[in-house]
Assembly symmetry: C2
Homo-oligomer: 343 residues x 2
């Protein structure tokens, strides 16, 4: 396979995927809104409330996860939560979601209904409405069962200013819980691995937790991102690069569930590079760290929230990981695809 | 294949597709915004201008057309225009579009770049910006080359009130040009048919023409719809059903290009049931018919615009076609899939 064809790695959260987005899509669709490449686009002023102008947030993601049902979730819940979370990560209140289905001929209606019900339940939990949709059917062999695309719109309150380049020197790096659950749940299912305690995907809508966080420490949250494809490592690398600051992270501080650690060793994977679907990284003004952690821990999806590092100016654009053995290493974005079709 | 599996026909603009949407998706995602099943959802008030409150329109569509390039267009232009048109059909000014790609491993980057460039050119023509995106790659055999999803948001001016149920007794039915071009262009390419004059897809962004129409006859346009999957016949059946009025249409008044008529006969298809991607049906107050036609004909995409019928109260929910032989027949929505993967 030469450089001039799409590789599985182009679909990863790693380097090749980033280059494809930067060199092909962002270059062609060049405009100041797309340029920041945040989880969601934040659009010009769309209204006004007591505090000032509101901005519209808009995002999309397609879901091609396999298998369609995995421990802790399914493609329906995943597709709804992913888009809700992308909106929440720019500080928006998610409001409306679209759902577009590409279905392979012969797919069982009862199974489709399960995923639709799962989307509805997740939408209810997140407090969003599914208001637009589309269905396409392709012949047998033309697609692998079912793909779902969701797009979403939300409103960013006037006093919220969060972006991938928002980190400042001295900020703390918070993580809302253990990493690797989603990716390892899907991989374990796919590989037929059995554990005493099954690994469950963390797939969840995070807008409620973000609302609590922003309410607890108004103005103190500079960046938010959910470490999906490419895992925590890719997210930290992205945020360090876009803010041109150094992220210093303690490996020992990063929570990883025992079963995930075990499965990772079995499969030769590093949980820092494995996808999450219900976690967030928050870059927060250091003075607000305590209150921010309290707000995260007060929410069911943030009980294991913890501080994992600090932002400094020492190695601009780099993530320095202090390992459990005391060594420091530069964390790099993965070049290739570790786990295809995880979302 | 039993009733409990997805058929190709579920993806058509016909009866099975409508039932799937109504009984599965609309039932599960039940809410007052989704309920009208218009081309785009029109959301609560999102702002205000001189004339009053603005409403947000939001829509999505996936594109699985095969072949990816066809005479007169390609999947990139189609994906951009389709979503722009869905917004225009609820009277919205389209503003922002998202683009999500599902790509099969091994797809040529140069070909992908062509479709991306084609989307960009269509976005420029339509005056919209592509502000959000996503890329997923599936392994060889997991998808058929390339699927593109677009979603779009736009604003409906305060004084525009257009919906699928807006038709009133006495209104005229206008059609912006000849039908069947897109579907027959794709089918001819697929079947390897050769004609002296090749059939070109009519794939085009219609928002400029809609702007001209609404400006020429403010308040007089009650319904707009672009007759895509299922063709003109399905669109007329939908509009008659949702408005609970009778649509009386003259077959002889419906323009069909000669090559399309020839290809249709060859393939045993009725052009009234074949998809268009650059035409619209407008239901307009009869007093404004002349000015509305003039506005449509004044636009490059509406030169062949013409009146094809009238709305009456005689056979609620029915479309009565007066054939070229003088007979009257009830036009029915096709039950099955005539042309798979046409969009």
């Amino acid at each position: 396979m030469a450089d001039d064809h799409i590789l599985l790695a182009h679909g990863s959260g790693g380097l090749l995927g980033h280059r494809l987005v930067r060199d092909l899509f962002a270059a062609a669709f060049d405009n100041p809104i797309l340029a920041p490449l945040d989880d969601a686009a934040v659009l010009a002023e769309w209204g006004i409330d007591q505090a000032g102008p509101l901005r519209l947030a808009f995002t999309t993601d397609s879901y091609v996860v396999r298998p369609l049902t995995f421990p802790g979730g399914d493609i329906g819940r995943l597709a709804l939560c992913g888009t809700v979370n992308d909106l929440a990560m720019v500080g928006a209140e998610p409001l409306y979601v679209s759902a577009a289905f590409i279905i392979e001929e012969g797919f069982a209606l009862a199974e489709l209904r399960r995923y639709v019900d799962s989307m509805r339940a997740a939408a209810e939990e997140a407090g969003v409405r599914i208001v637009a949709g589309d269905t396409k059917v392709v012949e047998r062999g033309g697609a692998d069962g079912l793909f779902i695309n969701t797009a979403g719109v939300g409103l960013v309150p006037a006093d919220v200013h969060i972006s991938g380049s928002g980190a400042r020197e001295g900020d703390v790096i918070l993580l809302s819980g253990a990493v690797g659950d989603h990716g390892m749940a899907v991989m374990s299912q796919r590989e037929g691995l059995q554990f005493d305690a099954p690994i469950l995907s963390d797939c969840a809508p995070l807008n409620g937790m973000v609302r609590a966080l922003l309410g607890a420490v108004p103005g103190a949250v500079h960046s938010l991102r959910d470490p999906t494809r490419g895992g925590l490592a890719s997210t930290l690398c992205e945020l360090a690069e876009t803010s041109a600051l150094s992220f210093e992270v303690e490996e020992a501080a990063i929570p990883v569930h025992g079963a995930v650690r075990g499965a990772s060793e079995l499969l030769g994977l590093d949980p820092l590079f494995v996808a999450n679907e219900g976690k967030l990284v928050a870059i927060v003004r250091s003075q607000a760290a305590g209150e921010a952690l309290e707000a995260l821990r007060g929410h069911p999806y943030g009980r294991e929230a913890t501080q994992i590092g600090r932002v400094t100016g020492e190695h601009p654009g780099r993530v320095i990981l202090r390992t459990v053995y005391g060594a420091a290493r530069i964390l790099q974005m993965p070049a290739g695809e570790l786990l295809p079709r995880i979302c």
